[in-house]
């Protein structure tokens, strides 16, 4: 199979889905009205509610939702062969993610631009709102843990990426200072900063002195580390602690000191990354070497785990937070929602598709692929490294040497992950404060108390589970949990859209079917993992994962019951679509 053909088929289906299916949904189900006065116009205040050009809004929406997750999930999921992963990404985007992102945007626009959490209270009831808050809390906790582990993993695997990433911090502070004090434009300085980072990357890839390689300092892979741990475990431990300290500082500083300019530098990397991957694909014209389906996967079945391994890139509840949180307040015309919401999801699908292609064209033969992906653990642990190497192989088509490309690609992934990490630690702090207000614990409302809780609990979650590679490798056991909590959030969003459609007296099957599908997969996957892997009566038991899995399972059941009662409830009053 030729990889360009595969990409072309995927993109063609995306185009068809956007052209026809989203049009059908827009006209027949959501019934968009070009004359409807959107919240952006109705509550225009120049801050939150600003009517924005649909292309600009799409760009903002896409850069907010695309991150490291649509790269990592597919890179793990090709373990079951490339066909299931490609099918789930393509069809999931067209029939689930598009409808979900588009729907959350429309529901929010039709309800004064309120967020999904507030709408849960309005459409289903008070309990649904608390449920929503807790699910988001679990989701951000998972995000913190998983992404801290992802960054540490890349630092250990590609030590040349450490210095460029850390150079970014003083650069960002300098830009923030320059822009804020002198009111300069950000574009040129941030591009210069990016160029400096990549220059450092090139140097670090060439000279070993510039590679901050903790494993080498400890005397290689078999060397003795700290506290009697191995070298790799110690390296993980140190990086995770360093990251947590960084995140603590970054999320308590005022935003324009560090986060804003850093975000600005990072935003360019999405363009650079997609450019490298798709242009590289065109120039190298590789063959797909990975097997269509992998018959040797006896340890973990693809059904249902595939559907929670690829969350972002097929469907992700996190997008609902973005579209109902910021995008809905800036929508100029209601008919723009189709482009912003649905096409935003398609953008994410395009990123996930190319990550799959980068991995499945990397190995020289199918046997080499099977050797690297010999178990689900190996897939989870090595998936990201395989993606970076695959992407750098594509980049050689653009004349970039492979080692430099690998450094640059790992910087891109680290930047995505770090941006997500900052945002989610901040979000977690707000939620802890909100829960403190809700349950009358004033101590929790203090910034440093809430941030400390967020950071310490995330660090504990990464470090405590015993992974197969010893201390510090527990991080990737959490990936399925991250996927499940993300799918739960998507499920509850789809439920809210369904309830809204039902109360308007419209056909709600297009959101109900993906919701049932997601809830079924989540429940099934959690039951399998909790009872056959993590519970105390199994060999691979883990109390922490068991507890979290059980909590998520409980939430999934709770959502299902809430959904049933809300959809079967005949007494919910009809809504007026024009209110």
């Amino acid at each position: 199979m030729n990889a360009i053909a595969l990409a072309a088929i995927g993109l063609f289906i995306f185009v068809i889905g956007y052209r026809f299916y989203s049009k059908f949904v827009a006209e027949k189900i959501y019934r968009l009205d070009p004359n409807y006065v959107t919240p952006a116009h109705r509550f225009k205040d120049g801050v939150d509610f600003v009517p924005t050009n649909k292309f600009v809004l799409w760009g903002h929406h896409f850069t907010s939702v695309a991150g490291a997750a649509p790269i990592l999930g597919p890179a793990i999921a090709v373990y079951w062969g490339w066909l299931p992963a490609v099918l789930w990404v393509v069809l999931g985007t067209v029939f689930a993610a598009g409808v979900h992102d588009f729907g959350t945007l429309v529901v929010s626009v039709r309800n004064k631009g309120q967020s999904m959490g507030t709408l849960a209270n309005k459409l289903v009831g008070q309990r649904a709102k608390i449920l929503f808050l807790f699910i988001i809390l679990i989701l951000v906790l998972m995000v913190n843990a998983v992404f801290a582990w992802v960054i540490a993993n890349l630092f250990v695997t590609f030590p040349s990426s450490v210095l460029p990433v850390f150079i970014q911090i003083p650069l960002a502070i300098w830009i923030g200072h320059a822009v804020y004090k002198k009111n300069a434009k950000m574009l040129v300085p941030s591009l210069i900063a990016l160029a400096v980072m990549y220059l450092v990357a090139v140097l670090a890839a060439e000279y070993q002195v510039l590679q901050i390689d903790l494993v080498r300092y400890f005397g290689g892979e078999d060397g003795a580390g700290l506290f009697g741990l191995g070298a790799i475990s110690s390296a993980f431990f140190i990086w995770i602690i360093v990251l947590m300290i960084y995140v603590y500082i970054a999320s308590t500083l005022p935003v324009w000191k560090l986060l804003q300019p850093r975000d600005f530098i990072n935003s360019h990397q999405l363009v650079v990354g997609l450019g490298i991957l798709y242009l590289g694909l065109l120039f190298t014209n590789p063959e797909v070497t990975a097997p269509i389906t992998n018959p040797d996967t006896n340890d973990v079945s693809w059904f249902p785990l595939l559907f929670i391994t690829i969350a972002c890139g097929a469907i992700s509840g996190f997008h609902g937070l973005v579209s109902s949180g910021t995008s809905s307040k800036q929508l100029n015309k209601e008919t723009d929602a189709r482009f912003v919401g649905y096409f935003g999801a398609v953008g994410e699908g395009v990123l996930a598709l190319i990550s799959i292609i980068a991995v499945i064209t990397f190995f020289p033969t199918a046997d080499a692929f099977k050797e690297a992906y010999n178990s689900f653990g190996a897939a989870s642990g090595g998936g990201l490294g395989n993606f970076v190497q695959g992407a750098s192989q594509l980049a050689t088509g653009l004349g970039i040497p492979a080692d430099i490309a690998a450094t640059i690609v790992s910087i891109i992934v680290v930047s995505f992950a770090a941006t997500t990490l900052d945002t989610s630690v901040r979000l977690m702090r707000y939620i802890i404060s909100e829960l403190g207000t809700e349950y009358k614990v004033p101590a929790l409302e203090k910034t440093h108390v809430a941030t400390t809780i967020a950071v310490v609990s995330s660090a504990a979650l990464v470090l405590i589970p015993e992974g197969p590679n010893g201390f510090g490798s527990g991080g990737y056991l959490l990936w399925p949990l991250f996927g499940t909590s993300n799918q739960l959030l998507a499920g509850i969003n789809l439920l809210l859209i369904s309830v809204w459609l039902k109360r308007l007296g419209r056909n709600y099957l297009i959101t109900l079917i993906p919701m049932i599908f997601l809830m079924f997969m989540t429940l099934y996957a959690m039951i399998i993992q909790v009872f056959t892997q993590w519970a105390f009566w199994n060999e691979s038991s883990s109390t922490l994962l068991f507890v979290f899995g059980a909590i998520i399972l409980g939430f999934a059941l709770w959502i299902s019951i809430t959904a049933l009662s809300a959809l079967l409830n005949k007494n919910l009053p009809k809504l007026d679509p024009n209110e």
Binding site: G46, L57, H60, T63, K185, S190, S267, T326
Partner: protein, 85 residues
């Protein structure tokens, strides 16, 4: 062609600066809100905690205040609340 490129760059910058424009606008709005609140409470005579905290400025302001009332041609402090001389 050059115009198209300029348009593209302008679009790109707008996409990137959108969330940041929002954050800065929000900070400014918060400052404005606070200022308005102070003005109104002053105008209508609603007691607010700010007066209590301005006491802390007393030692910092006393010298400047003294110079000011001398410049204004008053030998003694015109305000009974601030006794500088």
């Amino acid at each position: 062609m050059i115009d198209k490129m300029k348009q593209l760059i302008a679009y790109y910058e707008e996409v990137l600066s959108m969330p940041h424009r929002q954050e800065i606008a929000r900070e400014l709005r918060n400052e404005d809100d606070l200022f308005l609140l102070l003005l109104y409470s002053e105008m209508i005579g609603i007691p607010n905690p700010v007066y209590y905290y301005t006491l802390e400025l007393y030692p910092h302001m006393i010298e400047k205040f003294h110079d000011w009332h001398l410049r204004m041609g008053m030998d003694k402090s015109p305000l009974s609340g601030i006794r500088c001389c």
